[in-house]
């Protein structure tokens, strides 16, 4: 009895242990890993993936998937940049609307929420499988990004917007602040609110949840909308950091997000997993990326190794949950 309990405790912290071991190895093998500069560098790099992965975790907890986050990130980044730079001009009505930095941030996030809402609406009202609905959105949002940007980056966004991506506050980079706050709110949301409990219940047994009176469609639509908003937040960070909205930003980011969620121990069949697990997953991927660069591993091998880590993480997770 005791040994079983001990074992499951180890299983619970396995990603933390894995992360610790990775850091230890890198600290011993490279000179630059254990420096403050590199630490904040890694943290800043993973902050975008953390934003997206938190939304992805919510979606996957309901037994769904969201493939469109990378495209939503690009589109919302472009919308934000475009509005900031050019505003909305309607010459025929002799109308021009300019935006403040705060205004474009809200507009960008709302756009992400709206795109996510469309995903959720298709999934719940038209019963489109999440894989298909969000695959369609992936393509559409990328297309809109190209239309909006005419295929060219939108650059020169000004220092006050750039502060979001490059600035520091109280010795911590802004992207880390933002992703940290998102994580904090998401942890509360999933573990302390009715909404969060419903998300787990829907993923755990949708039938039982429905028969218990949980408004399945409403909750799911909100989950996809939140995933959209968080992807947009990632888009703001990327755009601010580069001082430029790239039309092909965020390509394949959905895969990194899914990887983070899965490495973090969230079950793809829904109902099981935590936000903190996902954050650890994102950190493992981030440290791995950073470490492989520092170790001068060729980019081709980097991909092979990353894939192997994902596979290994899921295999370990499966064997653990079987032995429960």
């Amino acid at each position: 009895m005791i040994s079983v309990k001990k074992y499951s405790n180890i299983a619970k912290y396995q990603s933390l242990i894995a992360l610790f071991i990775m850091c230890l190895i890198l600290a011993l093998m490279t000179e630059n890993f254990m420096t403050t500069d590199n630490f904040w560098n890694v943290m800043r790099q993973i902050s975008v993936n953390v934003c997206i992965s938190v939304g992805m975790t919510l979606v996957i907890l309901t037994a769904g998937i969201d493939l469109s986050v990378g495209s939503i990130l690009a589109l919302c980044g472009a919308i934000t940049a475009g509005l900031l730079k050019h505003g909305i001009a309607i010459p025929s009505a002799n109308l021009f609307i300019g935006f403040t930095v705060f205004g474009v941030i809200i507009a960008g996030l709302l756009a992400g929420g709206a795109l996510g809402f469309v995903n959720g609406y298709a999934v719940t009202k038209f019963k489109v499988p999440p894989f298909v609905a969000t695959l369609a959105m992936l393509t559409m949002a990328r297309g809109f990004t190209m239309l909006w940007t005419k295929g060219h980056p939108i650059t020169g966004l000004g220092d006050s917007f750039g502060f979001l991506g490059t600035g520091w506050f109280l010795g911590i980079p802004m992207p880390v602040w933002i992703s940290g706050i998102i994580v904090f709110v998401a942890v509360i949301l999933t573990s302390k609110t009715r909404f969060g409990r419903y998300v787990y219940a829907i993923g755990g047994n949708e039938n039982a949840a429905r028969l218990s009176g949980i408004p399945i469609n409403k909750i799911k639509i909100w989950v996809y909308a939140l995933a959209g908003i968080l992807a947009a937040a990632g888009g703001l960070l990327v755009t601010a950091r580069l001082d430029s909205a790239q039309p092909n930003a965020g390509i394949s980011y959905e895969l990194d997000a899914i990887a983070a969620v899965v490495i973090g121990g969230t079950s793809l069949s829904g109902g099981r997993g935590t936000i903190m697990g996902t954050v650890l997953g994102a950190m493992i991927i981030g440290v791995l990326n950073n470490g492989l660069v520092l170790l001068d591993v060729s980019p081709f091998w980097q991909q092979v190794i990353k894939g192997m880590v994902i596979l290994l993480a899921v295999i370990i997770d499966k064997t653990n949950s079987k032995s429960e």
């Binding site: 302390k192 409990r197 787990y200 047994n205 429905r210 009176g213």
Partner: protein, 506 residues
């Protein structure tokens, strides 16, 4: 007469509960045997043992006089024993021929599938069964009756000598029944044996030569169909002693709470077929209304309809507490004071990966909020309250509900509804798969809830259970209410008589 398959003194227990005890049965070559019994009498268990699905049992199975142990259904099939299940096991998007040859595909010299030969053979089979079905037709485009013939063709192809048919007419029309009977006749004349399971006694008299009646897992009657009457058969099926003490008759409370008028539910795919037909009844405050019916009588669908699950295909009126109520979803139904403990606990009742405490609080999360956030202390209090009052056996509130026994899981499901404080509590097979002690506790609880003013609607396929807890009993068959009994006039035989499907036509 040669005996093809024989069961000798078969006993089977499920975690301590005896499902079959000392049942023997002989299946002779070229005979049709009717296997008869109430729901839960042990028919399917016997069938599953004789066809290799259950492998651990006491007693022996003899095939052509030799003792055999079927390790898998495939093993039994190789011996020539096939089952045609109630729910058909065909693959909808494959053709008839592909289904017939599934797992036994013919290949040509090059190692590729020999479609031509398979299609030809399928045509021949269909001809033999006097069915005009194109071997290249998709199975999902066929009528249910035709699909059944495809199943039979599959069985014939494997050279089956014994065919078990489990409720084969439950989903097909009258003309198709006749075709099926012709086929059965033909198979019999070819020397094959058929074990026919059905609730429809008229059918059994039409085609079966012998019968065996199971009751509570025991064989209580065997013989030839020609030497027994319908009434005698019903007597054998029903003659069960009541084990639960009947509660004292109390005055029927007089405040009407729920009134259902002409409730009709159409089958969504086939609007001609009615799942519920003109159901009308009322339910008073603090009353326990029992609904008895055999499988497929529409009992579960009735509960679901009252719970807002079939809004689109439902007509008729539901008046709850004086308000005309058409619920679009369970959420709405629950807000108006309805509650449903569903039939399939694992599939619909619990969230298996969540803890016991979380499964209790799921319907009343606003009660465990503090400053808008879930409060563990309040949730624990709720958990403590029900673990104590319902005597739920559980180690800790964090224990996952899936690790509890069936009875304790059911108590958790009940707890979440009791805390919600419903006006009408519907219980669909509340004691299925639950041991006798927990059963009695649940009966007590139902009585207690009713006396506190909640109206309870209990669906059950166990007559003693219905008799023990109900103030009034409705019997359903084929989507209709066929009889209503007060608690004094209800007997097992009365109820049994009313639930046999052909009662409807009389």
């Amino acid at each position: 007469m040669q005996v093809l398959l024989e069961a000798q003194h078969i006993t089977k227990k499920f975690s301590g509960v005896t499902a079959l005890s000392e049942v023997s049965m002989r299946i002779e070559k070229g005979k049709v045997i009717a296997l008869i019994g109430e729901n839960g009498a042990g028919k399917s268990t016997l069938l599953k043992i004789m066809s290799g699905i259950y492998t651990d049992y006491e007693g022996a199975i003899l095939f052509k006089g030799k003792k055999v142990i079927f390790s898998t259904p495939k093993d039994a099939q190789d011996h020539g024993i096939s089952i045609i299940h109630q729910e058909l096991n065909l693959i909808p998007y494959l053709t008839v021929s592909q289904n017939v040859f599934l797992g036994r595909e013919l290949i040509n010299k090059l190692g590729f599938l020999d479609h031509e030969k398979m299609n030809k053979k399928t045509s021949e089979l269909m001809e033999r069964l006097q069915m005009e079905v194109d071997p290249l037709a998709m199975v999902n485009s066929l009528k249910v009756g035709q699909q059944q013939v495809v199943e039979i063709a599959k069985a014939i192809l494997t050279e089956s000598e014994v065919l078990f048919m489990d409720e084969p007419t439950s989903a097909i029309g009258e003309s198709e029944v006749e075709v099926l009977f012709q086929i059965i006749d033909q198979l019999r004349s070819e020397g094959k044996s058929i074990v026919y399971i059905s609730h429809k006694l008229d059918e059994l008299f039409a085609i079966a030569g012998d019968f065996i009646v199971l009751r509570d897992g025991k064989a209580v009657g065997k013989g030839e169909m020609s030497k027994i009457t319908r009434d005698e058969l019903i007597g054998m099926m029903a003659g069960r002693e009541i084990k639960v003490t009947k509660k004292s008759d109390k005055k029927r409370p007089d405040k009407q709470l729920l009134q259902v008028t002409n409730l009709t539910l159409k089958n969504q795919e086939n609007p001609q077929r009615l799942i519920l037909k003109d159901i009308s009844f009322d339910l008073n405050n603090g009353e326990v209304l029992g609904i008895y019916g055999l499988m497929g009588a529409g009992r579960t669908e009735l509960c679901e309809s009252l719970f807002g699950l079939h809004r689109r295909s439902l007509t008729g009126s539901i008046v709850l507490d004086g308000v005309e109520s058409h619920f679009n979803s369970p959420t709405e139904a629950i807000e108006s004071g309805m509650a449903l403990v569903p039939e399939d606990r694992k599939l619909d009742g619990i969230v298996p990966g969540m803890s016991v405490a979380e499964n209790i609080s799921i319907t009343v999360l606003d009660k465990v909020l503090r400053f808008g956030l879930l409060n563990k202390k309040k949730e624990s209090k709720l958990y403590d309250k029900y673990v104590e009052s319902l005597k739920i056996k559980v180690n800790s509130e964090r224990q996952l509900i899936k690790t509890l026994s069936g009875g304790n899981q059911q108590k958790v499901v009940l707890a979440k509804w009791i805390e919600r404080g419903p006006k009408v509590l519907m219980l669909d097979e509340p004691t299925r798969g639950i041991d006798i002690n927990a059963k009695n506790e649940i009966y007590e609880l139902i009585t207690k809830l009713a006396s506190s003013g909640i109206s309870v609607l209990v669906v059950s396929s166990e007559i003693p259970e219905i008799l023990a807890i109900s103030d009034r009993i409705l019997v359903m068959a084929e989507g209709q209410i066929t009889a209503e009994f007060g608690s004094e006039e209800a007997t097992e035989k009365n109820i049994m008589n009313a639930c046999i499907p052909e009662y409807v036509n009389k």
